[in-house]
């Protein structure tokens, strides 16, 4: 296979370049990492290390169309000498979900493994921790104001996770292209309120160990039982094909035809298990969006939109959502009064997030559908009965 040969050549070339010292090679930085695999080898509370690759790969849309992507892969804990082989054509969409706790020291290493299908490109990559407050520009992942990491090398970002909430992350290098191509992912931070001592009285609400909250609400109002991070995005197949075929990119004419939840269109959104791409058989879209809960449970949905072209509105037939936070901020007046509200729709533009809680107490068991109310996006390009839709199953 031509691609296998390319892969072999690419790995060999990168390895040789690393040996010469001209390239930095794979290098992860993580406190107390004694064996170089990028994870701490002693128990350090609140130290989290992750290692991502930035490169390319393939996905398959719900109508069966193969789609070339740029993306991130997860190589956390992998020995350095295996990272390139894993990362090349190993992009995932969406990017590996990052889950943190408030107070964490987060070390995020990004290794640029290059784009195998685009040997003409020398694009650097970055990670932009979207919405994260008060970051220094060096860790903001904005290539114009800091640095991008070149092919064959690694950079480690550091963030002190001072606030909880639903954020997101994406590559900011040549943002319109790299984001349309799929370098997008879920990222959220759980609040310190989760670790309160058992029996703590929160204005009359008694906390118990194991209770989980979306935010430091101070009154238990954002407690939930199950949580799902669901990211909206959309692909323009013409753009992706042009990128794969080394053609001029249709920036101005960008028209997204695949509206996706966590990188899949319906019915793949409710398909539990892997979707293997048609080019190298990797499970490039590991996330389904099927929401499961037992009657009486409170469901937290962490919704975000990283489409580069448009706003999307999500609705759930038959269920109300309580909007408790937007853009990682609890909806609360300055005197602490709640400003949460019940709704059947939430509308998000690119780069916006919202947290909603669905209380299923008294809700009849069954399957409820969450879908884009811009109904033209309930399609996978030319195929109907698809697109931005998933199911919420209450047992």
């Amino acid at each position: 296979m031509k691609r296998d040969l390319l892969l072999f050549l690419a790995v060999t070339a990168f390895s040789l370049l690393s040996l010469t010292g001209a390239w930095g090679g794979v290098m992860v930085q993580c406190p107390e990492d004694l064996d170089g695999d990028g994870v701490s080898d002693v128990d350090l509370p609140h130290v989290v290390c992750r290692h991502l690759t930035g490169g390319d790969g393939f996905t398959v849309m719900a109508d069966g169309r193969s789609m070339y992507i740029f993306g991130f892969g997860d190589v956390t804990g992998m020995p350095a000498d295996q990272v390139l082989e894993s990362g090349i054509l190993g992009a995932q969409f969406p990017a590996p979900t990052i889950v943190l706790d408030e107070g964490d020291d987060f070390y995020l290493t990004l290794t640029n493994v290059g784009m195998l299908m685009r040997p003409d490109l020398f694009d650097p990559h970055t990670v932009h921790f979207h919405g994260f407050p008060e970051v220094a520009s060096i860790f903001d992942g904005l290539p114009e104001s800091s640095v991008g990491i070149n092919m064959g090398s690694s950079i480690t970002y550091y963030y002190h996770i001072a606030v909880p909430g639903t954020f997101m992350y994406h590559c900011h290098a040549e943002a319109t292209e790299h984001m349309q191509m799929g370098m997008l992912g879920n990222l959220y931070v759980r609040p310190a309120q989760n670790s309160l001592p058992d029996g703590t009285d929160l204005k009359g609400f008694i906390h118990h160990t194991g209770y989980k909250y979306a935010y430091n609400d101070g009154d238990g109002s954002t407690r939930y039982d199950v949580e799902y991070a669901i990211q909206m995005s959309s692909f323009d197949p013409e753009f992706h094909d042009a990128d794969l075929n080394v053609q001029p990119l249709p920036f101005a004419d960008m028209r997204d035809k695949y509206a996706l939840l966590n990188g899949r269109g319906y019915p793949d959104t409710v398909l539990q298990g892997p979707i293997l791409n048609k080019v190298n058989g990797r499970n490039s879209q590991p996330l389904d969006s099927l929401v499961h809960a037992r009657q009486g449970q409170r469901i937290l949905l962490r919704l975000s939109n990283l489409s580069v072209t448009r706003y999307y509105t999500l609705s759930i037939g038959g269920l109300y959502m309580k909007v408790i936070a937007k853009d990682a901020k609890l909806l609360q007046a300055s005197d602490g009064r709640p400003m949460s509200y019940d709704t059947t729709t939430v509308t998000l533009g690119g780069g916006e997030s919202v947290d909603v809680i669905i209380d299923t107490a008294g809700v009849p068991p069954g399957t409820y559908v969450m879908y884009a109310t811009q109904a033209q996006y309930l399609s996978n390009n030319e195929e109907d009965y698809g697109g931005m839709m998933t199911e919420i199953v209450i047992e």
Binding site: E144, Y158, D327, E352
Partner: protein, 509 residues
């Protein structure tokens, strides 16, 4: 890619001019440009705008005469309570008018009666009067054939200063929570060049406004990187307004955001959340004296057509986990903005005590349930670097304003402290947490100083950097529908600018 180099060159040009503006005497650049008064004459006439990738687009604008129309129309800076008179003349091939949403007692005289208000035609001007009854951020725009005339450029901003406005202690609404150090306008719009060409060629019957497909996106009438060029740049005669927000750490920056086009634009600002305190010229308040108590914080503000937002943006570098000034010793001088939150001891603290009561302004801002690193120092000293006995501690709220405290960390000694001594959340003196890659493994941004530290220029390879002479931190403020970061088919550009957070010794204005 080659595009990047072209873009950086344009940036260079733009910023060079900007810095010339910054460093020379002249009109202030860091405020909102516009015209003030109570009586204005506006002429609606055709003109051409320029876009950074080399295009020239026919538009209809407003200005002082037919040779000086602009996109957007002049920003009118008014005072609360004034009665305003605006006379509109037209040199356009179809009737035109102006409407003033949010203003009171609007009246129109002259011209001819249109569907919404009275309309001007060549030789038949209209005079509008209204009372600028409320402070805030507003729009004005054409009330005639709006589907076409908004697209063509007939709109502008209105800013109404509150009664008793003091330029040395400015507020947006007269309330303390609307005070600001600097203000900038972010008027976001878009254009479909095909429509403009059809108008230019008089092919009105071929225009399908419902099929509008914009490919140009603007802030204050310019596309990036022209947004960052100086205001009133000679080479942009019909696009006088720039958008280059600059600030120092800790300052309050008032963002006046206006959705002036036809689409929603999710305006995302890197760096921090901003607190929206008003919409459509009304404070988000539950009642008189409450201030903006219903305000909300966002990292993206959706600029909806016809809607305005006033938001306060601040940046202190709070709890970054390392010292962004690059100090390595607690004795290094404290820079302004470094002590993000300061509280005071409510009661004496003995050397052996593990509990402390905090009060003062900052106490409420300490995290609810999480440990934070603080410095304690004596009230006899203005800042902890001056107090040789300062102590590094970690505090965690136990309940109310009672905190548990870990004492004498990082080589300092637990001491006895008095009521009124200071406790501040800070990362002063903490080292940079990682090693950056070697230069040959990096691609550098033109706004990168070469150092991760604020105010510190690092070594960059020849030809890199160059747009950050004061070694500030730069953050992109842009539409997060990234398709809007285009100038037609060219990336990057569009509805984008950069916020510069400059060290205190760097001049702004």
């Amino acid at each position: 890619m080659r595009v990047r180099q072209i873009f950086q060159f344009t940036y260079c040009l733009a910023l060079t001019f900007l810095l010339v503006g910054l460093l020379s005497e002249g009109p202030a650049q860091a405020t909102i440009q516009g015209i003030s008064g109570i009586s204005f004459t506006l002429v609606a006439a055709p003109g051409y705008i320029k876009t950074p990738e080399g295009n020239s687009i026919f538009f209809w604008g407003l200005g002082s005469d037919v040779n000086h129309v602009q996109y957007p129309g002049p920003t009118l800076i008014l005072n609360e309570g004034d009665t305003i008179t605006i006379t509109l003349y037209s040199a356009l091939p179809q009737p035109v008018s102006l409407v003033f949403p949010g203003q009171e007692q609007v009246q129109a005289q002259g011209g001819s009666q249109g569907k919404v208000t009275r309309e001007a035609t060549p030789g038949r001007p209209v005079t509008y009067t209204f009372v600028a009854a409320h402070p805030g951020t507003y729009l004005y725009y054409s009330g005639t054939n709006m589907a076409l005339q908004h697209e063509m450029g007939l709109f502008g901003a209105i800013i109404v200063r509150p009664a008793g406005f003091d330029p040395n202690a400015p507020t947006a609404y007269g309330t303390s929570d609307s005070r600001y150090d600097r203000e900038y306008l972010f008027m976001i719009s878009e254009m479909d060049p095909d429509i403009h060409r059809l108008v230019e060629e008089g092919r009105y019957s071929e225009i399908e406004n419902a099929d509008v497909f914009p490919t140009y996106y603007f802030i204050n009438g310019r596309n990036a990187p022209d947004t960052m060029a100086p205001a009133f740049a000679e080479w942009l005669p019909t696009q006088p307004y720039n958008c280059m927000p600059l600030m120092h750490p800790g300052e309050r920056l008032l963002m006046r955001i206006i959705g002036a086009g036809r689409d929603n634009h999710p305006y995302h600002f890197h760096g921090n959340h901003a607190k929206v305190i008003a919409e459509d010229g009304r404070l988000l308040s539950s009642g008189p004296g409450k201030g903006a108590d219903l305000g909300y914080s966002r990292f993206t503000i959706s600029a909806v057509p016809g809607h305005t937002y006033d938001a306060i943006f601040q940046w202190t570098g709070r709890e970054m986990g390392w010292d962004y000034y690059g100090h390595t010793s607690l004795s290094d001088p404290i820079e302004r903005g470094e002590l993000a939150v300061t509280a005071t001891l409510e009661a004496p603290l003995s050397a052996g005590s593990a509990q402390v009561t905090l009060g003062g302004q900052g106490e409420k801002e300490f995290p609810m349930y999480r440990e934070v690193r603080c410095l304690i120092w004596s009230k006899a000293y203005p800042s902890p670097d001056k107090d040789p006995n300062r102590e590094v501690v970690k505090v965690k709220r136990a309940s109310g304003n009672l905190f548990t405290i870990s004492r004498g960390l990082e080589g300092t000694t637990a001491r006895a402290w008095s009521e009124g001594d200071y406790v501040a959340i800070t990362d002063h003196g903490r080292p940079f947490p990682v090693v950056l890659p070697e230069n040959q493994n990096l691609t550098f941004g033109a706004f990168y100083s070469g150092s991760p530290y604020l105010g510190n220029a690092g070594n960059l390879p020849p030809g890199e950097g160059g747009l950050n002479p004061f070694s500030g931190f730069f953050y992109m403020w842009h539409s997060h529908n990234e398709k809007e970061l285009l100038n037609n088919n060219i990336f990057p550009g569009g509805a984008m600018t950069m916020l510069g957070i400059l060290p205190y010794n760097a001049p702004i204005e």
